[in-house]
């Protein structure tokens, strides 16, 4: 009988520090993973945390981890060559095929860029597989910007709008909430455009509303939810909303379904 709680060891191949609190850990991993799926990452004696995959590559996965709690505090003290314990991948993740040959808009708030980054990576590397790809990525301040190198590289093949909520005087980039930029994104076929919105609950609520106002069809909007999860496998009950377990049926939902998920 398989013990679904038994973690496996994974070696830290690289650590990239984006900000004081956000690091990306490149972890050794071979196996099927989809963007938007997550792992239960643990350090024995400290605890487990659900962390979504921010990049999938040959023999590795990236986990972007913000230092916000007991477990993540300890994880940040680790070095390349160290070991983290993983279980997963869990959840449904994004299905890249759903978005192929279509116009795509991704709106990501803060660390919400991590779970959706695999989708952006894919279409930035294969620009011919989408009709048009727009990314709006928002952060609190210029100091909170994650994946700076990626954002620069993506801009070569897709349209990238980078914005910050607020900045000191003299900052030359975009300033304003993501919602400010939604109406300005040119769309050729409003009936078919696919929109992915990921970020803090309040950001998702208003950004989705803005896209609906723009005329995007509800069934073409996709969101990813973040909830407390202790097991990741439909047992612990923390992530349940109505009859939906975010860990099993989510975290990625079509908006038509998500609109009925009332905590």
């Amino acid at each position: 009988m398989e013990n679904i709680y038994m973690p496996f060891k994974s070696k830290i191949l690289n650590i990239k520090k984006h900000t004081e609190t956000d690091y990306t850990f490149r972890m050794e991993f071979r196996g099927e993973v989809k963007p938007g799926q997550f792992f239960e990452v643990s350090i024995p004696k400290f605890g487990e945390s659900p962390i979504s995959v921010s990049e999938i590559g040959n023999g590795y996965i990236d986990l972007t981890i913000r230092r916000v709690g007991v477990v993540t505090d300890v994880i940040h003290s680790f070095f390349v060559g160290g070991i983290l314990f993983l279980r997963g991948p869990y959840g449904n993740g994004f299905d890249v095929n759903l978005y192929k040959d279509k116009e795509i808009i991704v709106a990501a708030g803060g660390t919400g860029l991590a779970p959706v980054k695999g989708i952006v990576d894919y279409f930035a590397a294969h620009p011919q597989e989408s009709k048009k790809f727009n990314l709006i990525s928002g952060f609190k301040s210029p100091n909170d910007i994650l994946f700076k190198d990626d954002l620069k590289a993506w801009a070569e093949s897709i349209n990238v709008t980078l914005t910050v909520d607020s900045a000191e005087e003299g900052y030359s980039g975009n300033v304003g909430l993501i919602t400010k930029y939604v109406s300005g994104i040119p769309v050729e076929n409003i009936e078919e455009v696919q929109v992915i919105v990921v970020g803090p609950p309040i950001m998702m609520k208003f950004t989705v509303a803005e896209f609906i106002k723009k005329g995007v069809k509800e069934e073409n909007i996709w969101v990813s939810y973040e909830r407390k999860m202790c097991c990741g496998v439909g047992k612990c009950g923390h992530c349940k909303i109505d009859d939906t377990y975010i860990c099993l049926e989510g975290p990625v939902f079509n908006y038509m379904e998500a609109v009925h998920l009332v905590d």
Partner: protein, 335 residues
């Protein structure tokens, strides 16, 4: 087969049985109740049938036998994860019909909702049920409304009457322990209650619109978020992971899971502090809807078994059955 025995005789068999089984039953714990000079009835391992409390409802359900309050999942030494040794003995549980039904709900979550839970399955596979009948309904019970007042799912039935124990044993394996010799076969029929004073009526048109009803408001101030209703419930199955290291040796520790309550602060809090259902009325709504609405959408039957233990234990006299009945008017209100 049905037969009867002197209680002393039954205890001799129980002693044989206990070589291979751990036997659990509701036991009255003198003076261990919430208030001074009150008792509590909880599940304990027993040595004699005389210890079993047949006449009263147990305050806690038998779920803690298959889902311990605190359960070690791994022992850690440096970077090795070691599973705890499994208990070798089989398990016999004395329980009432409603609690047999509650076990089925736990199976639903731990064996059928996603992959099988290893720790639960190991324990549950060892379990056999000994049914205790109910000659009359206890206070706050509404099992008839929930359809959990009777069951066929047991290996043995026992009833005590005039210093004798009446037994209906359906299991050949358990029969072997009795080594009866010449015993008169009699008809022993389980006692099930057919009516309760309390009845609940779950509205057929119940859905999420009821979230908007004003009926939930009173729970904001009445509920004190102690979580007792969850802990005594035979079907509440939520847990939280907990890692610890030992004070004497920080290199060694363990990962445990402990019972969690959707009424208690922090249930939905994520790292960074964001949580959902901060207001206690929303927690009440979340629990009630799980018990009589959304669990059914997944499993095909209601989660609540109508044991009424949540009503028995609530220090604020919040009645779950009353709340369920209020859903009818609430649906009229929002429709």
């Amino acid at each position: 087969m049905g037969f009867k025995l002197k209680i002393e005789k039954f205890d001799e068999y129980l002693e044989n049985l206990r070589r291979e089984y751990k036997v659990y039953a509701p036991v009255k714990l003198q003076g261990k109740g919430t208030f001074a000079d009150t008792d509590t009835i909880r599940y304990e391992e027993i040595k004699s049938i005389k210890e079993v409390e047949f006449n009263l409802k147990s305050d806690f359900s038998p779920k803690e036998i298959v889902l311990p309050i605190t359960q070690t999942l791994f022992y850690f030494t440096q970077d090795e994860c070691i599973e705890p040794k499994q208990e070798e003995k089989k398990i016999l549980i004395f329980l009432r019909s409603c609690d047999v039904h509650a076990m089925k709900r736990l199976d639903e979550i731990y064996l059928r909702n996603g992959n099988e839970d290893y720790y639960y399955k190991v324990l549950k596979d060892k379990v056999k049920f000994v049914l205790m009948g109910c000659s009359e309904s206890f206070e706050n019970c509404f099992c008839v409304s929930m359809g959990s007042n009777s069951t066929e799912d047991y290996e043995m039935y026992t009833r005590i009457q005039d210093n004798e124990i009446y037994i209906d044993c359906k299991s050949e394996e358990l029969m072997n322990y009795f080594k009866l010799g010449k015993t008169e076969e009699i008809e022993v029929v389980p006692e099930f209650v057919l009516t309760n004073e309390i009845k609940v009526n779950i509205p057929e048109n119940l859905d999420q619109r009821v979230f908007k009803s004003k009926m939930w408001d009173e729970y904001s101030s009445r509920c004190i978020a102690c979580g007792r209703c969850n802990f005594v419930c035979g079907t509440c199955a939520c847990f939280t992971m907990q890692d610890v290291f030992y004070k004497d040796n920080k290199n060694a520790g363990e990962r445990r899971r402990v019972w969690a309550s959707c009424h208690v602060d922090g249930f939905s809090d994520m790292a960074g502090g964001h949580g959902f259902r901060e207001d206690k009325k929303d927690r009440m709504r979340f629990k009630v809807m799980h018990k009589v609405y959304d669990f059914k959408k997944r499993a095909g039957y209601h989660m609540c078994i109508g044991c009424g233990r949540c009503d028995d234990i609530c220090p604020e006299y919040i009645s779950f059955s009353n709340c369920v009945n209020k859903l009818n008017r609430a649906m009229d209100e929002v429709e």
